[in-house]
């Protein structure tokens, strides 16, 4: 086979590389994107978060399967529906040697609304805080404005920074909406390029940040969780897939995230190890429900997607197995839900079968025996193989008579056009950052409503008031078992109505030298702190 001829000389290249890796105390990682800032409160962006988590920590953590576990808070309890008491961990040091106390937490949460020019602010988390007081240095009471069962989960997103290093006064007093007192002069995002300001409690300290080139962190010897694995970690953004793989194969980096699926056999043959895990990201199709949906032809001005039979026909026309196998190289799992079971709120619903015959019947029943034409929108640089999948879906829909053209653009144009409702049907993805069914339901299928803040990403404008009511109830239920059941019901309502069509769950892949190990994360983050030497 031709593959062989290319692979054999490759092994020689790797030999050279492994010789270079003499200092085993250093880890070098190739990331697919670059952090936009070292300020952990500046921009909610996965790259910033995964890089920042090495330097900064939060009250809670999420483990590899997004289960909430203690972080800087040892334990917590819900005193009533809106009051939480957090016991903070004792003996935790910041990188500058100062002690971690409740004051740092209050300062950190207070700083969030004061960050200027943020393109995606963390105020979506701090906005819900009504009151915050320290009972003592290591006990914190937080009152939320509404009942929020996900509060401990959300806290993972709020990084704790050092009040001393940032120049806070002795007494920091909380008040909502950026009205805190005792904050001093609050340093802005650019200041965090300096290790003197970017002071956290994490296992690694910031050493240097050369934009576009590399970010270096070094071991924090006094880390509360034990001595970190690496003396030094270098994170390099290598945004193109090919060069990122080449950098791993050539030995320039030890581990890369998201190697392209088609390169995996080659990477494995070259003696590298590959790990993968199902992610919380669902790839789905959303169909527009308004009367005047654009981009539909051959229906005399009607919108066929308003008919649930047509939506079901589309779902049945798609051979999800074929997409997972042929396009995703087996690194995807056909989806029947909006979040992979057994995550919170899933019901274990069956994946829709591939049944083009039944799909044609449904189309005929709905009054479209000859099909119609449709314009399918998709980004081409956002999800794994996104435009390839969209083309495959278009192929499959064409086979039941729905002539589909694919309108693929870069994510920047796609998101703007989608939000302007320019597509009758579009493909996109959703990763539930809370690891909980309420996340996709609230954003993707709940009725679009500016006052409640629901349905923000529901650009099909699907609306099911019964489901909305049930979801709202679930969102204010603290009892996990009850909430789980309600979310399952709400999801089933939507899926029975084909309000959204799940395609598959992405599988996230990492490739690394064989002497390393990494526990793959559901949330797709690459965290240097969790890379270990293989036993």
């Amino acid at each position: 086979m031709t593959v062989k001829t290319l692979t054999l000389p490759l092994a020689a290249g790797c030999l050279v590389a492994s010789l270079a890796q003499a200092h085993a105390q250093e880890l070098s990682i190739g990331l697919k994107s670059e952090a936009t800032s070292m300020d952990p409160h500046f921009h909610q962006l996965s790259t910033n978060i995964q890089v920042g988590k090495n330097i900064f920590e939060a009250l809670t953590t999420q483990d590899a399967v997004q289960k909430v576990t203690p972080g800087l808070a040892e334990s917590w309890e819900a005193v009533d529906d809106t009051t939480w008491r957090f016991k903070l961990r004792k003996g935790v040091k910041f990188h500058d040697g100062s002690d971690f106390t409740a004051r740092d937490v209050i300062y950190s949460f207070c700083r969030v609304p004061l960050v200027q020019n943020s393109p995606s602010a963390y105020t979506i988390f701090t906005g819900g805080i009504a009151e915050m007081t320290a009972e003592d240095d290591h006990t914190l009471i937080i009152k939320t404005k509404d009942t929020n069962p996900l509060w401990p989960t959300e806290l993972w997103s709020l990084a704790i920074i050092s009040a001393n290093a940032l120049g806070a006064e002795e007494d920091v007093v909380f008040a909502p909406d950026g009205e805190c007192t005792g904050m001093g002069e609050v340093p802005q995002a650019p200041a965090f390029n300096s290790p003197d300001i970017a002071v956290g409690t994490g296992p690694y300290k910031l050493e240097s940040y050369t934009r576009g080139s590399e970010l270096t962190v070094t071991r924090f010897e006094d880390y509360w969780g034990g001595t970190p694995e690496w003396e030094r970690v270098v994170m390099r953004p290598i945004t193109s897939d090919g060069p990122r793989v080449a950098a791993l194969l050539a030995g320039d980096v030890d581990l890369i995230e998201s190697p392209p699926i088609q390169d995996l056999p080659r990477i494995e043959e070259a003696g590298f190890s590959v790990v993968d895990a199902l992610s919380n990201r669902i790839i789905y199709l959303h169909m527009q429900q308004l009367d005047d949906a654009p981009g539909i032809g051959g229906t005399d001005g009607k919108n066929p997607l308003q008919d649930a039979r047509v939506r079901e026909a589309i779902s049945l026309s798609i051979n999800r197995e074929a997409i997972a196998e042929r396009i995703m190289g087996g690194y995807a799992q056909p989806a029947g839900e909006l979040l992979p079971p057994p995550m919170f709120g899933t019901s274990g619903r069956e994946v829709d079968p591939y049944d083009p015959e039944r799909a044609k019947e449904l189309l005929a029943e709905a009054g479209y025996p000859d099909g119609f034409t449709l314009n399918l929108g998709t980004p081409n640089d956002r999800y794994i193989n996104d435009e390839q999948i969209a083309q495959a879906v278009a192929q499959m829909m064409a086979r039941i008579g729905i002539q589909t053209t694919v309108d693929a653009t870069t994510a920047s144009q796609f998101f703007s056009r989608r939000n302007a409702l320019e597509f009758p049907i579009y493909m996109a993805g959703w990763g539930a950052s809370s690891g909980d069914m309420s996340s996709p339901l609230k954003s993707l299928v709940a009725t679009y409503d500016e006052t409640t803040g629901t349905g923000t990403t529901n650009a099909g404008r699907y609306s099911n008031p019964e489901m909305d009511a049930l979801l709202a109830e679930a969102m204010s239920t603290i009892d996990d078992a009850k909430r789980d059941e309600m979310l399952q019901q709400a999801e089933t309502m939507v899926l029975d109505d084909y309000g959204i069509i799940p395609l598959h769950y992405e599988q996230t892949v990492w490739a690394m030298k064989s002497d390393l190990s990494y526990e793959p994360r559901v949330d797709q983050y690459t965290m240097a702190r969790e890379v270990k030497k293989a036993e």
Binding site: P9, L10, A12, G13, C14, L15, V16, A17, T36, S37, D39, H43, Q44, L45, Q116, N117, S118, P119, S120, A121, T123, I124, Q188, A189, P190, R211, G212, S213, E214, R236, P237, I238, T239, S240, G242, P243, R244, A246, A247, L249, A250, D252, D381, T410, A411, S412, Q413, F415, S416, R417, N419, W430, S433, S439, S443, E450, G453, T454, T456, T457
Partner: protein, 325 residues
């Protein structure tokens, strides 16, 4: 001379303003950066707040007015993505791009001129034909494809050179450069060759064509007939006569190299400003796009001006005031 300079600067200013307007309106038309930048879980109220924070809720003409006012004071805006002055972000990336472009330019001149002169002196020899054939190939290979083949061969199959990135840098004249360290140099070789090949072919062809023309001229034939050695003829007459077009092309091509670096930087993950431009376009980071283009225009205009001045020094018959802008 002064009139000429003033006129040139006026034109350039006009070009910069025209482009700023175009890009401003264009990026506005593509989409809303907040749609790309914001966490999708944000509510409509938070989206509106973010737009307000970035000044995107104002009408376009107002945004442009604010931009112009600030630009006149030397502030080209704050990047939506990085939250820092756009110009500062670009200046951080400028040395990497300039280093790449200058090294590539050096390679194409140092290799291109001798090969071209040789091919021009012996147009029908095997060497001459091989050089021309090679230059046609170098001319024809799509830059990105050629870059990938270079990586495949030299980084992956042979393992001689790194596949991408910039490597170790040291400070030189206050700038971070990579050609002074071994690690930096190895990272520089492939991207520089990739960027140089096209220009090298261009210079080979140019040098050959000029050499042929000059060598057919009477005074060169005469010099040869007089028994001057072949080498001396080449050195003195031909090189002197091809310097003007070569300087022109070098000047003009340096500007286009800075632009073409976009492709090379994408393929080799070279942290220059071309890659920054692509990223900024994808994120609709308008301040960075506008600042990049203004800076590039400035660089190109200055180089052109410089070329014209050198031109007049090389050939006293040309007076700047007579030249068209």
């Amino acid at each position: 001379m002064l009139v000429y300079l003033v006129r040139r600067l006026g034109q350039s200013l006009l070009a910069i303003v025209a482009m700023a307007v175009l890009v401003f309106a264009g990026v506005y038309a593509i989409g809303n950066p907040v749609d790309v930048l914001i966490n999708p879980e944000a509510t409509q109220a938070e989206i509106a707040a973010t737009m307000q924070r970035l000044g995107l809720d104002r009408p376009l003409y107002e945004q442009f007015g604010i931009f112009v006012m600030n630009a006149l004071q030397g502030d080209l805006g704050t990047s939506f993505v990085y939250g820092r002055p756009a110009l500062a972000i670009i200046m951080e990336r400028l040395p990497a791009t300039m280093e790449l472009a200058l090294v590539a330019l050096f390679l194409s001149v140092a290799i291109g001129i001798p090969l071209g002169v040789w091919a021009g002196l012996r147009p029908d020899s095997i060497a001459g034909r091989t050089i021309m054939g090679g230059s046609i190939l170098g001319f024809s290979l799509p830059n990105f494809w050629q870059g990938m083949l270079l990586i495949l061969v030299f980084a992956v199959l042979l393992g001689w050179l790194p596949a991408g990135g910039r490597g170790e840098t040291t400070e030189f004249l206050g700038l971070q450069v990579s050609f002074l360290t071994w690690d930096g140099l190895t990272h520089l070789i492939l991207p520089a060759i990739n960027l140089a090949l096209f220009k090298m072919s261009l210079i080979i062809r140019l040098a050959r064509a000029n050499t042929r023309e000059v060598s057919l001229q009477d005074y060169v034939k005469f010099a040869r007939a007089k028994g001057l050695s072949g080498r001396r003829v080449v050195m003195v007459h031909i090189l002197k006569n091809i310097m003007i077009p070569v300087v022109t092309i070098i000047g003009l091509e340096l500007g286009s190299m800075v632009a073409f670096a976009i492709v090379t930087e994408t393929v080799f993950a070279w942290p220059g400003m071309g890659k920054l431009l692509i990223d900024s376009i994808n994120l609709l980071d308008r301040p960075v796009i506008v600042a990049y283009l203004m800076l590039t225009v400035l660089i190109i205009v200055s180089i052109n001006l410089l070329v014209d001045v050198i031109y007049s020094l090389l050939d006293p018959r040309i007076r700047l005031s007579e030249m068209k802008g």
